[in-house]
């Protein structure tokens, strides 16, 4: 828990850096939009990212329960899953947390309050978060294919029913 204790002290800085990393994949105009507009409805993506990041960090540096983290990760990943990114590009931000942690703990590491062993332990924890992100991402993509099929079914069900090719319930 020691390293989480130190990281929590830097939560604001970590959130900012993580948000920057998360949005670095977009064109500069898009980044400006995601960063500047605070109205939730005028900037749904930026707002979702900003709020979700803080919630994810709170849970990840606290209890770290998969069942709580999954819906929080979903807030970010559900958006990334429909932005034509490759899966690796969509999820790279999760692994970026390792470098951010090392960066913000520079002082603690140099003064011996945190060790490289602690960091390695933290990296493994981030990898766990990465694995959970794969599950969430895959779930979103599967949903995307499911809804395509559901839409086609909805558009043709009546026809098939009328042609007596299927029997309604």
């Amino acid at each position: 828990m020691a390293i989480e204790h130190h990281l929590l002290k830097h939560k604001e800085e970590i959130s900012q850096k993580w948000f920057d990393l998360l949005t670095s994949i977009y064109a500069p105009e898009g980044v400006r939009l995601f960063k500047k507009e605070s109205d939730e409805f005028a900037n749904p993506v930026g707002h979702a990212f900003r709020t979700a990041i803080v919630e994810i960090l709170d849970e990840f540096l606290g209890e770290n329960r998969a069942e709580t983290l999954a819906p929080l990760l979903d807030k970010v990943i559900r958006v990334r899953a429909v932005q034509t990114f490759s899966p690796s590009a969509a999820l790279a931000f999760v692994f970026g947390l390792k470098a951010i942690a090392e960066e913000v703990l520079e002082e603690e590491l140099s003064e011996g309050e945190a060790s490289t062993g602690d960091l390695r332990e933290f990296d493994r924890k981030v990898e766990g978060l990465g694995l959970l992100s794969f599950d969430v991402y895959t779930g979103c993509r599967e949903k995307l294919f499911d809804i395509k099929i559901a839409e086609i079914k909805r558009n043709t069900r009546r026809l098939l029913e009328r042609a007596q090719l299927i029997i309604s319930e």
Binding site: S24, P28, F34, V45, V82, F85, I147, N155
Partner: protein, 539 residues
């Protein structure tokens, strides 16, 4: 063996090129474009350059003199449309429109900013039609028309739903949808269109509706709904088809004839007209309210729109009532009068039940069913039991075309508040004239475009999620057939607890009809509030 990249390398790899927009080519990937128009559909409509091709191909098989065709087409339209001529020059690039587009909000792609989308066309205009552009080129935002520019136009004019939210915020009143409309027209001159637009337009041209439903199948489906209504409330409705001398012709989108949940909305129409004893007829020829010609060219829009008026003339009706549709109303309200009107052979619509004359339709002679129903309710002509919709917590999506295209805000809300007890508005900057598009309008509601649709619909879904979490809203109502087709999919991805209903389905649920048997279910066969036990007994 490939080296596994470090996370920091991944970040670098996935950053977008920081090139200027003119130097950033369009990359077509599955999910970000719609399939091109099939040659057979282009032939039916008499459109240029029918061929098999794909946006993924290097060679788009454009006609040999494609550049000349496009530039002459642009010249002709600048001369013809004063708005276009003005819009070309007056934009000061203030950026007020930039963050108002749902596609831009969902993607962050700068070419989805309305100002930049218009620049795609303006840059060519400057180069070819202005002295400064000819001399100074890119320094004044001018560029040559190349095949890459055509590809960029195809990508981004088919990533705009013509919803016109951006135009609301422009201090000069520039309507970016007009750029998209003209951009698509120019692309059509060289055979670049999408099949989800030209397919329905060709069907409508040949058989009278987008889905290509033939007269006997159309009649058959409506009779099927008659059976379903009888099973719900014991009342047998007898609609008439192609009946000469009826007072009204009723025209609605064909999507409601086959696709759920629009089918339930159509049952609502049937029930309402039966209850008030309206003298009206359906037509199996003018069997489409929607107008996908509008997404092809002005000329095609005119052709498809004329069909319902020709049928009204043939049948000798007095006026036309139109169902819950989006772009049908944009065409009627903004274009019909000058392209096909005035419809002098018809009469100004007058409700035979209340005596109200709809002077707002003095020229088109066609009224929206929601204003017709609102008038019935206002005059106490319908017996309604709103508690039958108590299992639904309802919000309302203003369809872009009825809201921004015809200023239709209060009539649907009046009807909703009369037939439901639980109505909750979404936040103010997401409704009425500021409404967010469903993300799938203007012919983009195809399944290959699903990723774009989901990100374009995110701002709308985000507002629905807000009322879902705050008030427990489980119902999204709307008055547009494309909305009814696409919002269930959007909700399924972003807010799965919410179902989509047409307004007249809710009217059909609440309406207490003369001689009905005890109602235990709504039109979907779900038990009405307090009737859940009956349902169990049946099982």
């Amino acid at each position: 063996m490939a080296k596994v990249p470090k996370p920091s390398e991944l970040e670098l790899q996935h950053e977008l090129p920081k090139t200027e927009w003119m130097d950033t080519p369009s990359v077509f990937k599955p999910g970000n474009f719609s399939y091109p128009g099939k040659a057979k559909n282009l032939k039916v409509l008499g459109l240029a350059n029918p061929r098999e091709w794909s946006p993924n191909d290097q060679d788009w098989k454009l006609p040999a003199d494609w550049k000349n065709i496009v530039l002459e087409g642009l010249r002709e339209r600048i001369d013809k449309y004063r708005t276009l001529k003005v819009f070309m020059d007056i934009c000061v690039r203030c950026g007020a429109c930039a963050d108002k587009c749902h596609f831009y909000l969902g993607s962050g792609d700068p070419k989805n900013m309305p100002v930049l989308r218009a620049e795609l066309l303006r840059s060519v205009y400057r180069k070819e039609f202005t002295l400064a552009g000819k001399i100074m080129g890119s320094m004044v935002g001018a560029r040559d028309l190349t095949e890459d520019v055509i590809k960029e136009w195809f990508m981004y004019f088919f990533q705009c739903t013509e919803c016109r939210r951006c135009s609301l915020f422009c201090p000069y009143g520039i309507d970016t949808a007009e750029f998209t409309i003209i951009g698509r027209e120019l692309l059509n001159l060289i055979g670049c269109n999408i099949d989800w637009v030209v397919g329905p337009a060709a069907n409508c041209y040949q058989t009278g509706n987008h889905l290509g439903i033939q007269p006997h199948a159309f009649k058959d489906m409506l009779e099927f709904f008659v059976d379903e209504i009888e099973a719900v409330n014991g009342i047998r409705i007898e609609p008439s088809f192609n009946r000469k001398g009826a007072e009204f012709l009723f025209v609605t989108p064909s999507g409601d004839v086959f696709a759920d949940p629009g089918t339930y909305t159509l049952m609502g129409y049937l029930m309402l007209f039966h209850e008030i004893g309206l003298d009206y007829t359906w037509s199996t020829y003018a069997s489409e309210g929607g107008n996908f010609g509008f997404f092809t060219s002005h000329e095609m829009m005119k052709r498809l729109n004329s069909k319902m008026y020709a049928e009204a003339k043939r049948l000798g009706v007095k006026s036309i009532i139109g169902g819950e549709c989006g772009h049908m109303w944009r065409v009627i309200n903004q274009y019909m009068d000058t392209v096909n009107g005035p419809a002098d052979f018809l009469e100004v619509p007058k409700s035979p039940i209340t005596g109200t004359t709809f002077h707002n339709a003095a020229s088109t002679k066609m009224i929206h069913i929601v204003e017709f129903t609102a008038d019935l309710i206002k005059n106490g002509k319908l017996k309604l039991d709103a508690s039958r919709n108590d299992h639904l917590k309802v919000t309302y999506h203003d369809s872009c075309n009825t809201a921004r295209g015809m200023g239709f805000f209060d009539e649907p809300r009046y009807v909703l508040n009369s037939v439901c007890n639980n109505f909750y508005e979404m936040p103010a900057n997401t409704i009425r004239e500021q409404t967010f598009c469903c993300g799938s309008g203007s012919g983009l509601n195809n399944d290959e475009f699903m990723e774009m649709r989901m990100r374009g619909g995110l701002p709308r879904a985000n507002a629905v999620r807000h009322v879902n979490e705050k008030f427990g809203v489980n119902t999204l109502s709307c008055i547009c057939a494309i909305d009814r087709a696409v919002l269930p999919t959007l909700m399924n991805y972003w807010v799965p607890d919410v179902s989509v209903y047409g307004l007249h389905e809710l009217v059909g649920n609440a309406m207490v009809m003369e001689g009905e048997t005890e109602r235990t279910t709504d039109l979907r066969g779900e038990p009405l509030p307090g009737m859940e036990d009956n349902e169990n007994e049946d099982i």
